[in-house]
């Protein structure tokens, strides 16, 4: 397997750069960067307004904890067959826990820390990264989750777990498609080629996303179901036991 010694690492470390689905500066052209920035900022603005209007300030510590967990979990690349790895994106998890509005702000905070402090994902392309890895999960993932959850049963653990797992998987695949589209529109690589490669890997990486999301959702259900943005009924009363028919 050829390894191009193209890492910009100034220390000359042998490790290639690990960007995950994080796009580095240079992959996208200015028009695509601009459009993705506009889309990300527009959605974040709506989120700020919604959070201000709808949420209680007791959610603030939970936003911090959620960001901390997602940042930490994103560091842990898990191997998938074929010499590739993946890691949690967490957008769907943030959406399920905090709702799309506060969840999006949490994801934005995570990507800012990664890009600004740790050079993970470019700063110029941060709009695209926030959109792909954050907002697709917190919006698209959330609505897939709620649709499935409602179909199975709003107050059932199975609804939450199956809904969040499928939504998490789907959000990763959609993020890969959108990323391929951005690469194609930027003229970096032909769209059809990028699409097949990106989706091929992320269909598998998405399974990891689904498993981690399902575990986290189950853990929260068992410990503090009242924390969910749309808590199961009786959660407030029976905060100690998650098993509600």
């Amino acid at each position: 397997m050829q390894l191009f010694p193209l890492s910009p690492s100034p220390l000359g470390l042998m490790a290639p750069p690990y960007f995950a689905l994080h796009i580095p500066d240079g992959f996208l052209n200015p028009p695509v960067m601009l459009v993705t920035w506009v889309a990300a900022i527009a959605l974040i603005t709506v989120c700020l307004r919604q959070v201000k209007a709808d949420y209680q300030d007791r959610i603030v510590p939970l936003m911090g904890v959620c960001a901390a967990f997602i940042f930490a979990a994103q560091m842990i690349n898990f191997p998938i067959p074929g010499g590739t790895s993946g890691h949690l994106l967490g957008g769907t998890l943030a959406g399920v826990l905090l709702g799309p509005w506060a969840g999006s702000l949490v994801m934005t905070a995570v990507f800012i820390v990664q890009a600004v402090i740790f050079q993970d994902g470019g700063i110029l392309v941060m709009g695209a990264n926030i959109f792909n890895m954050g907002l697709i999960g917190t919006f698209f993932g959330y609505y897939v989750f709620q649709t499935i959850r409602r179909a199975i049963g709003q107050n059932k653990l199975s609804g939450m777990v199956i809904g969040s797992a499928i939504a998490a998987w789907a959000s990763v695949v959609v993020a890969a498609v959108v990323c391929a589209l951005q690469l194609g529109l930027s003229g970096t690589v032909p769209f059809s080629v990028a699409l097949i490669a990106m989706v091929g890997w992320h269909i598998v990486i998405g399974i990891g996303e689904a498993i981690i999301t399902a575990i986290a959702v189950t853990f929260i259900w068992r410990t503090r179901p009242d924390l969910f943005y749309r808590p199961p009924r009786k959660a407030a009363v029976l905060a100690h036991s998650g098993v509600v028919e």
């Binding site: 050829q2 690492s9 560091m75 842990i76 905070a109 402090i117």
Partner: protein
């Protein structure tokens, strides 16, 4: 000093548990993360557009670049460089999200005490 008197104890437990789990992951598990290139990285290698990544991205002009080489704290033994980066990054993410939430959700009913700025994110990034 305590704007929300209710639930302060459960919240402290929640913060302690949640942040504790995150820190354990970031500090203890990060050295075991897979070193394989991940999704986009792998595609960039296979389709040979990896070289398009900027040699001098904007992030390298920030002061944090002198502290961190990606997820490795500079100037410390290699064994602890990534765990320490994980520790500081997790705290920074925690603080930034908390700060954003706090700023957005300033108490709507003008309770005079809550007007002070609470933990602007800049402070936390200096960790």
């Amino acid at each position: 000093m305590t704007p929300s008197p209710h639930r302060s104890l459960p919240n402290r437990l929640l913060i302690g548990t949640g942040l504790g789990i995150a820190l354990i992951i970031a500090v203890l598990l990060s050295p075991f993360a897979s070193q394989h290139p991940d999704g986009l990285d792998r595609v960039a290698q296979d389709l040979e557009f990896e070289h398009r990544a900027s040699e001098e991205p904007a992030a390298h002009k920030l002061p944090f670049y002198r502290l961190f080489d990606e997820y490795a704290l500079r100037g410390v033994p290699e064994a602890v460089a990534t765990p320490l980066a994980g520790l500081l990054g997790t705290l920074a993410a925690f603080g930034l999200a908390w700060g954003i939430g706090k700023l957005v959700m300033r108490p709507a009913s003008g309770t005079g005490e809550g007007s002070g700025e609470t933990a602007p994110p800049e402070d936390l990034e200096q960790d």
